[in-house]
């Protein structure tokens, strides 16, 4: 009797489990479908781009649409600008955020805690709140339409500082003490001990910050005026305008092209991201 009900329970559990797995697969497919549609439609002739039934699988192969994108807008410049800004910002995060994190984690100086809280409150000071005076300031400094302006605006990463500081605080004092006894200075300790031991937190914050910056639309919208300086998100809107009338396929070709770097970023970044999150991340 007992065995039978256990078997029944196990069968029930397995069926339930199978059901849930199928459901998960369905959801996964739903998440993937839009990309499939974008890809297939980008290969259709312009006049078919809106034809029904919509393309889930490619039936046409008009690669001309992809060339069209490069003909109509300086797509490569868009990509280079985005890349330039994002990479410099990422490097900036690695250096400046870790420096600040080290100071907050390890050095006692007057006003440390208050300054840290102030910096952290920056997380709540959103884009739109500071955009107007930032714009006026940059206008007066003649730094509008300059990708370096975009870089400057992204160099402070309060969340990154927080995460890295968390990890640094968990590093044992003994390394530092030993180094200090050998006569090392702060910079040496920072660069040779603290940074290498905080790689997970640094990676996480860098990847997340890179992605956020890569996708930033609001700031380029305000600060960039000419299309040679546009980053990818802004460039996509320019593409829609330049190609738009009558050619959604080309727009989608542009969309697909803009996703390629994201794929690369994902492949490289997700390892760091996940490792970093599990070892360094959210322990309070």
């Amino acid at each position: 009797m007992a065995t039978k009900s256990l078997e029944a329970k196990t069968l029930g559990k397995n069926v339930g489990r199978l059901f849930l797995q199928l459901f998960l697969i369905l959801v996964g497919l739903l998440y993937f479908a839009p990309f499939l549609w974008m890809f297939s439609t980008s290969l259709r002739l312009a006049k078919d781009s809106f034809s029904l039934p919509p393309a889930l699988f490619p039936t046409a192969f008009e690669i001309g649409n992809y060339f069209e994108v490069f003909n109509k807008v300086p797509f490569f410049s868009f990509f280079l600008n985005s890349f330039k800004v994002a990479v410099v910002v990422a490097l900036g995060n690695v250096i400046f955020s870790s420096m600040a994190a080290y100071s907050f984690a390890r050095i006692r100086f007057p006003g440390r805690n208050i300054l840290f809280l102030v910096l952290l409150s920056g997380l709540m000071i959103t884009n739109q709140v500071t955009a107007i005076p930032q714009f006026i300031l940059m206008a007066k400094l003649h730094m509008i339409d300059n990708t370096w302006t975009l870089v400057l605006l992204w160099l402070v990463n309060p969340l990154g500082i927080f995460l890295i500081r968390q990890q640094m605080m968990a590093i044992s004092d003994s390394y530092e003490e030993a180094a200090l006894m050998d006569g090392a200075n702060r910079w040496w300790i920072y660069s040779r001990i603290m940074v290498p031991m905080s790689v997970p937190a640094i990676s996480v914050s860098t990847v997340l910050w890179f992605v956020a910056n890569w996708n930033d639309f609001f700031r380029p919208l305000l600060f960039i005026n000419t299309w040679e300086n546009m980053t990818l998100p802004l460039g996509m809107t320019a593409l829609t305008g330049a190609v738009g009338s009558g050619n959604y396929s080309a727009v989608l070709a542009g969309v697909m092209l803009s996703l390629l770097p994201c794929v690369v970023i994902y492949i490289f970044g997700q390892r760091y991201l996940l490792e970093g999150l599990s070892t360094g991340g959210l322990k309070q």
Partner: protein
Amino acid sequence: MILLGFLVSVGLAVAEPVTLTLAYPTGDSKVEIMKQIVKEFEKQEKNQVKVNVIVVPVANPAAYWGSYFDKLQTMIAGGDAPDVVRVAIEGIQTFAARDLALPLNQYQKDDPQAVLNYADLAPKLQAPFEIGGKVYGYVWDWNNVVIHINTDMLKAAGLPFPGPNWTLEDFTKYAKAMTKTVNGQQVYGFAIPNYYFGTEGWLYANGAGILSDDMKKGALDTPEAKKIIQLFRDMIYVDKTAPVPNATTDAVNLLMTGKVAMIAAGRWPFGSYVANKFTSVGVQYIPLMKSPRTVVFGSGAFPVIKLTKHPKEAYRLSAFLSGAYSQKTGISIDSIPTRTSVMKEVLPTTPGKNWEIYGESAAFAKAVQSPPGYPEVASIFDRYTSSVYSNQLEVGAAMKSASEEITKVLANQ
């Protein structure tokens, strides 16, 4: 030493060519052609003047001229002012009112040769760029609003091509006849012109306008104006002969793919038609509602920014850009040249039935109402009409509120 340095720098300044910046918006893919045209100008000026074409991104194609002018004003405010800018009628009043444009009268008097054959510019089309006696630019291109008809769908419905005096009743009949299900998909008779310029075309045809004649008050709540908006709204929800428009709808695409039989547009779709090898199209005036017929128009020119450091050269560039070479090279297919001589050459090449109406309409065209503060006025217009077309607001109430808000904005300019 210092004196020598000074002399050298002065000498260099004299010998160096003047560089001008020409601002052009994205969106009509004419950037490469503009670069070609300015090269010709540089040749004419014996390379003493160099022209740098910068492309200003229009972030919001649904509010094209509005967002372009925002960007320009931002650039000027940010100290990044170009010398010569492409400005359409929608912006010139704002530019003049804000004292951003350079009056060119004196330069034209001193150097009339630059504007070869001023009389060749169709007077009605040039008029919007002469405000209060001051000349702010020389027109280059213009566009109007007519009805484009997909002739394949017309044939399938067994209808003859409409004549110029077709009435609103005829139009409604045509829209109904061409709304049907094809291969299991719904196709519609007409795409509502949910944009300022297009609606103005229909309002003018009914003796109304978005603004009052003196452009000081909103006039969408007159019975004639409300009739048109109500017509559009009913086409969507009562007759069901029009699809619901939204911010991203592309009427040209819908016409080419046979989803919609008629749209309201100027000559600009022909660029896309040619690029997509779409030839089954004909154009006809908006149905005759009030005589005499009025067709809306908008023209564009290349005013000079007042802050320019090289007004003489900028004037010459501005004038050159409205010249015959520039018009013939740049406006072959998707807008209409403003020089009568060039119109005669270029219009016959339009690959659509009844192209003659483009040239004819120059005689009775009325400028689209583009007051100072146009971006904000257009935005109010968009907001309220989109509420009506999405069946959120009733026409009477919406048009009343819209007119009130518009009047307030105009008063604040």
